[in-house]
Amino acid sequence: MSAEQIISQYPAEYKKIADALPGQSIAWLALLRQDSVQQFSAHGFPSLREEEWRYTNVSAIEKKLFSPASSSEIGAIEIDSLNQYLIQDAWSVVLVDGHFSASLSKLDGIPEIVTVMSMSAALEQCADLLEKYFSQSVDSKEHGFVAFNTAWFSDGLFIHVPAKQVLAKPIQILHVVTQAGFMANTRDIIALEESAEVTVVETFVGCDEAYCSAAIMEVSLAQNADLTLYKLQMEGEKAYHFGGIYVKQDRDSRFTHHNFAFGGLLARNDIHTDLGQASECDLNGLYLGVKRQHIDNHTRINHLQPHAISHELYKGVLNQRAKGVFQGRVLVAEQAQKTDSMMNNRNLLLSDDAEADTKPQLEIYADDVKCAHGVTVGQLDEQSIFYLQSRCVDKQTARNMLTFAFANEMVEKIKLPELHDMVLAQLLQRFPQAGIQQDWL
C-alpha cells in the first residue's frame, strides 16, 4: 500500500472512533473538529517541502497506520511499574494510551478553586471555561499534526489556576503508551489567571515497539502569571513523538521551559510563544541522540510588544548515527522596542556519522533592540582532553567527563530535586561508556 493510500486511511480509521471522542455534543468543539478533519484530509502530515519541516521527514508514519486506542482497549498497568517515572511530591495525572486513568492518578488535596481534571471531564463539566482557551494559542492551519490532533484527540488534561493562586506542589502529567501500533493523541490546556504560579512536569514513556505519541499543549498566561514547565521525553526507542507547546503570554508573565528530549526513533518538538509587554520566556533544551535517533526541536519566539525578554539555550549530544535538528526563530515586531533576546544552540558530535542541523532565524523589525544568537557544532575540545590527561585521567574517561559535563549543565537547572535526580539518572544511563560517575559533578 502506498503512503498516499495510508494517509487517506487515517481519516477512515479515525472516523470509527468519532462517536466516542469527548465533547462531541458541544457545538463549538464539533465544528472545530470538523474543520480540522477537512484540513488534515486536504493537506495530510507535514512534508519536507514545508520550510519548518525540511530537516524532518515524517513519512514513516504515513507508511504505517497508527490506530487510536479506544478506552476499552487500553493496556492494564500497575502503579508500581510507573513509580520510577512519578514524582512522589506532586499531584499526578496519568494518561494511558491517550486516555485518563483515574485509578493511576493522584489529585487529592488540590485547592478546590483550582481545576485539574482530564480533558474529557472538563468538556463535560466546564466547557464554557475551556472554550476561552481551546484553539486560541494555535489553530489547525499551523501544520498537519495540529489539525490531526484537534480532529481526533481522545483526552488530555485541563489545568486552570485562578488569580493569585500559587500551587504548593508541581503537577505531573505522565503519558504512557502500552502497545505496538497505537497512537496516543492528547490535548492539554494550561490556563493561569493573573499572578497565578504553578510548576508542571510532562513525562512521556512507552513500550519497546513502534507507536506514536502526539501531544499538543496550549498555554495561556495572564498578566504576571508564572509557569515553569518541564518536559521529560523518554519514549521507547522505536517510538514516534510529536509534541507541540503553544504559549500566549500576557504582560509581565513568565514562562520557563526545560525540554529534555532523550527517547524515540523520531521526535519532534514545537515550542512557540507570543510575548506580551515586559513578559519573559526562558527556553532550555537538552537532546541526546544515539543509534539512528532523529531529534528535532523547533522553537519560535514572537516578541510582539515592547520590553520583553527571551533567553534560549539548547544543547545537543549526538553519537553514532543520530541526527539532531534545531531551528530557532525569533521575531521582533515593529512595536517591540527594547526587546532583549538571546538564543544559543550548542551541539557536540561524538562520532563521524552523527549529524547536527542548526538554523537560527532572526527577523527584526524594531530598531531599538538587543538580540544575540550563537550556534556551534563541534567535537570535544582537544585542549580540555589533554588537560584532564595531564591530571591522570585516561583519555576515554576524559572524553566521558567532558561530554557529561556539557550535558549536565542543563540538568543542573532543574529546581525540583526528585526530577533532577530522575533526569540525571537518565543522562547517566544514556551514556553507555563505562566509568561515568556521578561524583564528577
Binding site: F386, Y387, Q389, S390, V393, N408, W440
Partner: protein, 249 residues
C-alpha cells in the same frame, strides 16, 4: 631523574627542537630561559605528552624509563606534573573532584588505597591556605571564570596535592602581579624536596628571584646554548637574549 639526549622535535615539517640535551638529578631545580620562539613551550608539551609534536630523534629517559612511550595520563601517574602556561577551563567538572580523582589515580598506580575523604579535605584545605586561595575555588568548575592569577595558583595547588616527582612549570610567572608571584613562588618553594625535581620554563628572570635554581639553561633556536648557575639569569636580564645569540653565532 630526567635525561634528555639530543632531542629533535618537529611540528609538521618544521623542526623546533634541534638536538636538545638536558640532565636533571633528583632534588634539583633547573630553569630554562630563552627568547620567544626558542622552543620552550614545545619542550614542556613534549615532556607531558601533548599531541601534535613529532619526535624525529633523540631520547627522553625519566626514572630509567622511556618517557616518550607513555600516554599523557600515564606520565602524570608516574609523577610528571605540568603546570600549564594557559590552564584550561573545564566547565561542569568540579575542581576538588578533579584533584581527588587525580590523587586517587596516582595512589592506585602505586598500589595504595583510595584517600580517605576526610583526610583529603584536610589536606586540600591546608594547601589552599598555603596558596592564599579562597576555599570556594575548590567547589567551582576547574578554572572556570578564574582570573589569570587564580588559575596559576590553582595549578600550584594541584601540584601541592599530587606531590609529583618532576614538576614542569611552564611560564608560571606570566600574567602574575608581584603579590601573586610571591605567593605562587612561596608555594613552589614549599614543594622543594630531595626527591623532587623542577623544570621552570620562563622568559623573565623575576621568578628566579624567589625560587633559586641550581642550574640555568639558555634555550635558543631549539638547542641549549649556554649553561650556568643562578648568576647567568641575572646576566641575561642585564644583557638580553641577543647577547647569547651573538655568542652562539
Amino acid at each position: 631523574m630526567l635525561s634528555i639526549e639530543n632531542l629533535h622535535v618537529s611540528v609538521g615539517d618544521k623542526p623546533i627542537l634541534k638536538g636538545l640535551s638536558l640532565q636533571i638529578k633528583a632534588g634539583e631545580v633547573h630553569a630554562i630561559m630563552g627568547p620567544n620562539g626558542a622552543g620552550k613551550s614545545t619542550l614542556s608539551h613534549v615532556l607531558s605528552g601533548k599531541s601534535g609534536y613529532t619526535v624525529t630523534s633523540g631520547t627522553v629517559t625519566y626514572q630509567g624509563n622511556n618517557l616518550l612511550d607513555l600516554e599523557p595520563d600515564e606520565r602524570a601517574r608516574e609523577g610528571v606534573f605540568l603546570a600549564f602556561q594557559y590552564p584550561v577551563e573545564i566547565p561542569g567538572v568540579s575542581n576538588i573532584y578533579l584533584m581527588k580523582a587525580a590523587l586517587n589515580a596516582i595512589r592506585k598506580h602505586k598500589g595504595l588505597a583510595e584517600v580517605d575523604a576526610m583526610d583529603f579535605l584536610t589536606l586540600v584545605k591546608d594547601k589552599v591556605k598555603l596558596l592564599e586561595m579562597d576555599e570556594s575555588f575548590l567547589y567551582r568548575s576547574v578554572n572556570e571564570g578564574f582570573s589569570g592569577g587564580e588559575k596559576k595558583r590553582n595549578e600550584i595547588l594541584q601540584a601541592a596535592i599530587l606531590e609529583p616527582s618532576l614538576c614542569i612549570l611552564d611560564e608560571t610567572d606570566s600574567g602574575l602581579d608581584i603579590d601573586a608571584l610571591k605567593v605562587v613562588a612561596a608555594g613552589v618553594d614549599s614543594l622543594r624536596a630531595a626527591d623532587r625535581s623542577f623544570l621552570m620554563i620562563t622568559h623573565y628572570q623575576r621568578l628566579l628571584d624567589y625560587i633559586k635554581p641550581d642550574i640555568v639553561h639558555v634555550l635558543a633556536d631549539g638547542r641549549i646554548v649556554k649553561l650556568g648557575g643562578p648568576e647567568l639569569a641575572l646576566e641575561l636580564e642585564a644583557k638580553g637574549y641577543h647577547w647569547v645569540e651573538e655568542q652562539v653565532a
